[in-house]
């Protein structure tokens, strides 16, 4: 434990820390541009200079390991003068166009210039100008502003795992670019916007939309995938203008996927802002009363067994609980939250959770991926796997479709039968799992949604048990299910599964085709095959006009994830509370309240009048739901149904990363991403900036 003196105070720090980190522990802020906690150390901006006794020159504190006996001064006139010198150099070629810069107001350079800037320049030569680079439809570049901190380069090669950004030329002619200005092919590319300490890389969709001080900032939860990334929603008036990550080391560290960040423009389009009722074959605007009356007319007198409900991928826990209560009240056992038909059981909870937890990935030393492509199903989780991979000593095997996951893996097989072969130890990779201290496996929806879902789940459980993945003594649970839907774990927790003799999604759709099901209640369910709803009367409750709304007979306009106070349970089983950033548009209402209101029209009034009562009911049924933001370890048990494992290929259920739910399908930005990355030449116009 090196002991050093910082500003006259003796401190002892962990070995391996840098001087900058030691100073931070003392609450001393060191200005910096290139240094970032989650990236490698570059030491090239020189802003973090401090004085060290015995050193004739100042030292870059970010790159200097704290050592025994160092005497560091961070706050004396000499240090200030040095930093002012660095700042003056940085500003030589910086355009100082803050008034027209989107970074203005949240710019590291601007902020630090307040402390170390000189109020006039001594540089009278021409400033350099750099041509802007194309980096794809998400990142706007104004490269003259670049100060060459190389954070974006390091992020791309280290965290995102797509080494596509680089610095070409040298000295004053150094420029940051992608090779031949191709769009960056990463699902995490938007994070370079946050990392950029100046306005060189900014958000293209958000360009000139607002100033940071105009925005109302709401700390909430993302629903674009099952990771439950912690986000901050910035809104002005009734519009969500942008989404930024919040730091949560247990979940998303400080990254979010491009879908999380940029799909928010989908919240402004195709919105269902008033109820609709289908009359003479056409959807016509209606009042809430009319819509409820239309539903009541159809449901009253219909036997419960002929009614079904499907919860979609973005549904919050409250609305699903209310829907379940309503279906119970109507006497319907036909309810399901597994739109993709994945085989998952309601019990035990460990059978459908990511038990290792996201942070736990870093403790594992071997990993088997089954029927999943985490890169497109959960990019932030994939970054965590890559982080662990880069640390070394992490054997990764994949059973499923081979893909570029940004890390090396052994391709163990592609079919369900290969899972069986691994289970019986026929494949050499099983030895890697057996000898690992903390092996883990990740089962994706691609493995469970297929014909062999039940058997694959059982095989995965066997693998977990046989290869020492379940060890309560350590404690370690290496069995993980990676969900693709933000609503899924909440739905399973709340028991949105077929009751006794009830039908699952497949059964419901078979029923509608055969005429055994008359009424289907879709709670934001858009991913099912609408053609198979047959002649059924379809109630669609949701916020975006997508496949479900197009097929519906009655549309009940609900609230999107940014418009309600709601609970979501992520793939780890972590309950997180989303907060309302803006109000739902028009006549749209919070989802649980719609179901509650409908229940009284149907004469089956649900026993809660406000959100607190509903949440109390939820936590009565699921006590772990009371522990917001924490993961309650789930008890192990038997699940899955052993059966034959066929030669069915296990491919990810996510076809296109950018188009997985109604919000991103409505998003123009996501459509641009699809166009740009499908190889079509990107549209570059004079207004692109």
């Amino acid at each position: 434990m090196p002991k050093l003196t910082i500003n006259g105070q003796e401190v002892e720090v962990d070995p391996g820390l840098t001087v900058l980190q030691a100073c931070e522990l003392q609450g001393i802020e060191i200005p910096r541009f290139c240094y970032h906690e989650r990236l490698s150390i570059a030491g090239n901006c020189r802003m973090c200079l401090v004085a060290m006794k015995g050193s004739p020159k100042p030292i870059a504190s970010c790159a200097m390991p704290a050592a025994e006996g160092m005497v560091i001064e961070t706050d004396n006139p000499e240090v200030h003068k040095m930093r002012k010198g660095v700042m003056e150099f940085l500003l030589i070629n910086h355009p100082l166009d803050c008034p027209i810069c989107d970074q203005g107001g949240e710019c590291d350079l601007q902020d630090q210039a307040m402390a170390y800037g000189f109020d006039r320049g001594r540089y009278h030569e021409n400033k350099r100008a750099v041509e802007d680079k194309y980096m794809g439809p998400l990142i706007k570049t104004i490269m003259t502003r670049c100060i060459h901190c190389t954070r974006c380069i390091r992020f791309a090669s280290e965290v995102a795992g797509v080494p596509e950004i680089g610095a070409i030329g040298r000295g004053e002619h150094m420029e940051i670019t992608t090779y031949l200005e191709h769009a960056m092919t990463s699902e995490l590319s938007g994070n370079v916007i946050d990392l950029c300490p100046v306005g060189a890389l900014t958000s293209r969709p958000y360009a000139f939309a607002a100033r940071p001080w105009e925005l109302r900032k709401t700390e909430t939860i993302d629903v674009m995938d099952a990771v439950g990334s912690n986000i901050r929603v910035d809104s002005r008036g009734s519009e969500v203008l942008r989404v930024l990550p919040r730091i949560n080391d247990d979940v998303n560290e400080e990254w979010i996927s491009d879908k999380t960040r940029f799909a928010c423009d989908g919240l402004r389009r195709q919105r269902l802002d008033r109820p609709y009722v289908r009359r003479q074959g056409r959807l016509q605007p209606a009042s809430w009363d009319d819509a409820f009356a239309a539903v009541a007319e159809r449901i009253k007198g219909t036997d419960g067994g002929r009614i079904a409900a499907i919860a979609g991928d973005l549904a919050c826990a409250e609305s699903m609980a209310a829907l379940k209560d309503l279906m119970d009240a109507l006497g319907s056992p036909n309810i399901d939250c597994r739109q993709d038909g994945a085989y998952l059981e309601g019990q035990p909870r460990a059978g459908y959770l990511f038990n290792s937890t996201l942070a736990g990935i870093e403790a594992a030393d071997a990993c088997l991926l089954i029927g999943t492509n985490p890169r497109i199903e959960a990019p932030v989780l994939n970054a965590r796997i890559r982080k662990r991979y880069l640390a070394g000593g992490f054997a990764i095997g994949l059973i499923g479709e081979p893909a570029d996951l940004t890390y090396g893996y052994e391709h163990v097989g592609t079919t369900a039968a290969d899972v069986g072969r691994l289970m019986t130890g026929e494949h050499p990779f099983s030895e890697r799992l057996r000898t690992a201290d903390r092996p883990m496996l990740i089962v994706g929806m691609g493995a469970l949604a297929g014909r062999d879902g039940a058997a694959v789940l059982a095989a995965a459980r066997r693998i977990a048990e046989d290869f020492g993945m379940i060890d309560p003594a350590k404690p370690w649970n290496g069995f993980n299910v990676l969900h693709t839907a933000a609503a899924r774990v909440g739905g399973l927790d709340l028991g949105l599964l077929p009751g006794a003799h009830g039908r699952d999604v497949r059964g419901i759709l078979d029923g509608t085709m055969s005429g055994a099901i008359d009424v289907v209640y879709l709670l934001g369910a858009d991913e099912i095959d609408m053609a198979r709803l047959g002649k059924a009367f379809v109630i669609y409750q949701g916020h975006t006009g997508d496949a479900g709304a197009a097929r519906a007979d009655v549309i009940l306009p609900g609230a999107a994830y940014t418009e309600k106070n709601a609970l979501y349970v992520n793939t780890e089983g972590r309950v997180q509370a989303a907060l309302r950033a803006v109000h739902p548009p028009g006549e749209a209402r919070e989802d649980w309240a719609i179901i509650r209101a409908l229940s009284s029209v149907l004469g089956k009034t649900l026993p809660y009048d406000n959100l607190d009562q509903l949440r109390a009911r939820i936590t009565d049924a699921c006590p772990w739901m009371a522990a917001v933001d924490t993961v309650v370890a789930a008890r192990w048990g038997r699940f899955g149904r052993e059966g034959t494992l066929s030669d069915e290929a296990l491919a990810s259920t996510v076809g296109n990363f950018y188009l997985t739910n109604p919000v991103c399908r409505a998003s123009v930005t996501m459509a641009e991403c699809v166009a740009a990355l499908s190889g079509r030449p990107s549209a570059r116009t004079g207004t692109d900036g």
């Binding site: 080494p163 680089g166 070409i168 030329g169 090779y179 031949l180």
Partner: protein, 209 residues
């Protein structure tokens, strides 16, 4: 000066190492530990440049990147960083005239002017017959024999405008002028020393130069 070029504008024919260069590349890579083949990027780029007529095309950069299993941008960074990699086509003879301090004091302005006038091209341009590209370069490390220029791999030193003209005429005629000093110096002994053997051979009065 190595200006960053818009490589995206240039369509280039495909590039593959010849059999001989393939072998040479393998020998170079073998110098580095296994898995560290990226260390060979600079010699391989040089190899590619020589094979490709003195410049690195997009295809060549991509080929080297694939050959070394490196991200293309990493190879591109190297190729743009070093001035001795040419990212645009050059003539058969790349005439690089040093105009740095020592050469400048010894008359490099006249040398460059002679090249320009004799070949009819400005620095950075290639003559119409495709034989010559003239560039102005920074110090090539032959200050003691200034002024100097480099053509291909050869240094021509102690130049005068007449010497430059004769060198260029030789090259134009397909002859290879002898590299080295134009005033008969073998090494960097004082230019006005009449008999260099007196110094380098038998030694001075005190046994050394």
């Amino acid at each position: 000066m190595n200006d960053v070029i818009e490589a995206g504008d240039r369509a280039t024919p495909p590039f593959f190492f010849t059999e001989a260069n393939l072998e040479a590349a393998r020998v170079i890579i073998a110098k580095y530990p296994e898995g560290r083949q990226a260390s060979a990027v600079m010699p391989l780029l040089d190899l590619a440049q020589r094979q490709n007529g003195g410049w690195l095309s997009q295809a060549a950069i991509q080929y080297v990147a694939d050959f070394l299993e490196m991200p293309t941008i990493r190879v591109y960074e190297v190729a743009t960083f070093y001035t001795m990699y040419n990212l645009e086509p050059v003539g058969r003879h790349h005439v690089q005239v040093c105009t740095n301090l020592s050469c400048w004091l010894r008359g490099s302005d006249a040398i460059l002017r002679t090249c320009r006038e004799h070949l009819g091209v400005h620095p950075g341009e290639t003559s119409e017959d495709g034989l010559f590209t003239v560039s102005e370069v920074e110090c090539l490390g032959a200050c003691v024999n200034a002024p100097m220029m480099q053509i291909g791999d050869d240094y021509y030193e102690d130049l005068s405008p007449d010497a430059v003209r004769s060198i260029l005429d030789d090259l134009k005629a397909g002859r290879t002028p002898t590299p080295g000093s134009r005033i008969g110096r073998r090494s960097s002994e004082p230019a006005d020393m009449p008999d260099t053997d007196a110094v380098t051979g038998s030694g001075g009065p005190d046994g050394g130069p």
